[in-house]
């Protein structure tokens, strides 16, 4: 029997009982849909973690002045962190790999007749290592630049585009708050993230930022990279005790600073995703099993109903394997059609989760291939018994069947 004829015969069987077949398919659709949604969620979470790592750096803690956020309002004074605090932390908290204070704010930057409002970040060279920035052109400023309070700037890719277009940037002079800065470096683009554009930023030495631009003693932020993820709790405790002592905060009183732990945020995010993934794989497993049983059930009914047809086919020359193949392919046609619809449903669920939930989802070729294979596998596993039963019928008995 030719292949297309086998397929045509299989689909004829399916179409003859539309309602029954579509109900049977539903289990497979839900199962494969859950697999696709689950995998896209898992893949999305993985990408998100990787993206976060490249954006925030690995094992990074961020200390900001003021107590914890209440809603979106930061409480307490914002002038509590100093360069002294930063140096004290570096000197007395073990486990810190890199540390860099940040003094900065959003302000206007001018180049000849163009201007742009951007984030001016006064910091140290360690900042770019902690936060995974790369220099594209020129050289980032160094310790002597900081010590000598030089007016030099490293500009982000977005700023470069806004101020210089396609023209040269390194060596040009820009004005920040009336001060003239020489551009010594252009940073490589990191790409727009969901929250902000890290390339819309100008880096200047932290001392210059404090004394010539913003005129402030305090720092806005201290970024700390910890040696190893396992040190994070100890380092947090160390920071807490050193800063509380320096700020003379009595026991029981709330700290006037906040430590944000991105690793922790990421882990929490991963855990939610994990829970959801486990839930979805449970749904997938159960509904594929139940769906498979449904397919087996409907195929058994179909085989019994079509006993006479089997007898006729055998009388005109069908071998046992022809009958086996016919019913197996019919089961596969049900599950694979269900699988293809399920892939569509799963992709839609993933899209909805992305849009209305806080999850990022990515549909990969492999998840589609896996969903497809699973639907085929269910068809084989649950279709083989009814197909075998059909193929083992006695042609004489089958022809006599009413």
């Amino acid at each position: 029997m030719l292949f297309y004829q086998i397929i045509r015969t299989a689909f004829r069987g399916i179409i003859a009982n539309k309602m029954r077949t579509s109900l049977t398919m539903l289990g497979i659709i839900i199962g494969v849909g859950a697999i696709i949604a689950m995998l896209s969620l898992g893949e999305g979470a993985k990408r998100q973690v990787m993206e976060s790592m490249s954006r925030f750096g690995t094992n990074v803690l961020r200390i900001r002045p003021g107590a914890a956020m209440l809603g979106h309002v930061r409480t307490g004074r914002v002038e509590t962190l100093t360069m002294g605090d930063a140096e004290a932390l570096r000197a007395s908290v073990p486990g810190i790999k890199r540390l860099s204070p940040v003094v900065g704010s959003s302000t206007q930057v001018k180049y000849s007749n163009r201007n742009a409002t951007t984030l001016v970040t006064g910091t140290t060279p360690e900042f770019i290592e902690i936060n995974n920035f790369q220099v594209a052109e020129g050289h980032f400023f160094d310790q002597p630049d900081i010590k000598l309070v030089r007016r030099v700037a490293a500009i982000g890719a977005t700023v470069r585009k806004e101020l210089f277009g396609e023209g040269p940037a390194v060596g040009e002079e820009v004005k920040i708050e009336g001060q003239t800065f020489t551009v010594i470096a252009v940073m490589a683009a990191k790409g727009q993230s969901t929250f902000s554009d890290p390339d819309d930023q100008i880096f200047i030495p932290v001392t210059t930022s404090q004394r010539r631009v913003f005129f402030q003693d305090y720092v806005n932020d201290i970024n700390i990279q910890v040696e190893d993820a396992s040190f994070i709790p100890a380092v947090k405790e160390g920071i807490e005790s050193v800063l509380r002592a320096r700020h003379r905060i009595a026991p029981g009183v709330e700290s006037d600073f906040t430590i944000r732990d991105f690793t922790e945020i990421m882990r929490a995010m991963q855990e939610t995703t994990q829970t959801f993934t486990v839930l979805l794989s449970g749904i997938a497993a159960v509904s594929l099993l139940v769906g498979g049983i449904g397919v087996m059930n409907i195929m058994l009914v179909s085989v019994t109903e079509r006993t006479r047809e089997i007898g006729i086919r055998m009388a005109v020359g069908a071998r046992r394997k022809d009958i086996l193949r016919q019913f197996l392919i019919e089961a596969l046609a049900i599950t694979i059609t269900g699988g293809v619809i399920g892939i569509g449903v799963g992709a839609s669920i993933a899209a909805l989760l992305s849009r209305f939930g806080e999850w990022q989802t990515v549909i990969t070729f492999w998840s589609i291939a896996l969903g497809f294979c699973f639907s085929g596998l269910v068809g084989l596993v649950f279709g083989i018994y009814p197909a075998r039963k059909a193929s083992l019928m006695d042609p004489i008995e089958a022809l006599r069947y009413e």
Binding site: M1, L2, Q5, R12, A16, R308, E309, G311, I312, R313, M314, A315, V316, G317, A318, R319, R320, K321, D322, P395, I396, L399
Partner: protein
């Protein structure tokens, strides 16, 4: 063409062994037309199933076109049914969801023939149904259905047509038309085996074989 030697068939029914056919010797020559007659329970259906390669004898030798059939495996039997024998049943046995052409194409599928549609149409034309080719069995009359079944039986040009009460479900006029078709096939050289208990049908054959209690009676 068909040669049966000492064909015996026993069934075990409820623990006791029943001998349905006992040591039948029978020869049907190429191009012959033969009727097998006998009351129900005589074993003529079993004999027909064995001749039609649907069943295997318990004992004895069956040679079909010079080839021993009783020792064949099931795939070879299926092939023998496909290529050597055209079945025509009392109850037509057409696939209800398939059109006339598709029903006639069925043996061609299992024979692996590529151009099945034109062959099936030619066979339907031969039985005078070229105007009803795309109808389904429930849209056809009894006589037309049996014509479709005959077209299906002859589509692969088998040397033998095996008909089991072919007119049993038809009125006498339609029955005569069907028998005329068989006559035509026989005159073209096809070996015809008619299983029936109707003497009028048996009269179409050159030779009548009577079966009683599993034995050939003269």
């Amino acid at each position: 063409m068909i040669e049966l030697r000492g064909i015996t068939k026993r069934y075990s029914i409820g623990g006791s062994l029943v001998e349905v056919l006992s040591s039948i010797d029978l020869e049907i020559k190429k191009g012959e037309s033969v009727s097998i007659m006998g009351p129900s329970g005589s074993g003529k259906s079993t004999l027909m199933n064995i001749i039609g390669c649907l069943d295997k004898p318990t004992e004895g030798a069956y040679t079909l076109g010079g080839i021993r059939v009783d020792s064949m495996d099931e795939d070879a039997l299926a092939r023998a049914r496909n290529l050597n024998i055209g079945f025509v049943f009392q109850s037509f046995n057409l696939l209800a969801r398939h059109t006339a052409v598709e029903n006639v194409e069925l043996p061609l599928f299992y024979a692996g023939v590529n151009d099945s549609e034109s062959l099936a149409k030619a066979a339907l034309k031969e039985v005078g149904l070229e105007h009803r080719m795309n109808h389904k069995p429930n849209e056809l009359s009894g006589g037309e259905r049996q014509r479709v079944a005959i077209a299906r039986a002859i589509v692969l040009n088998p040397p033998i047509i095996l008909a089991d009460e072919p007119t049993g479900n038809l009125d006498s006029r339609t029955g005569k038309e069907i028998m005329a078709l068989f006559d035509g096939l026989h005159s073209k050289g096809t070996t015809l085996v008619l299983v029936t208990h109707d003497p009028n049908v048996a009269a179409f054959a050159q030779r009548a074989i009577n079966i009683k209690d599993g034995k050939v009676v003269i």
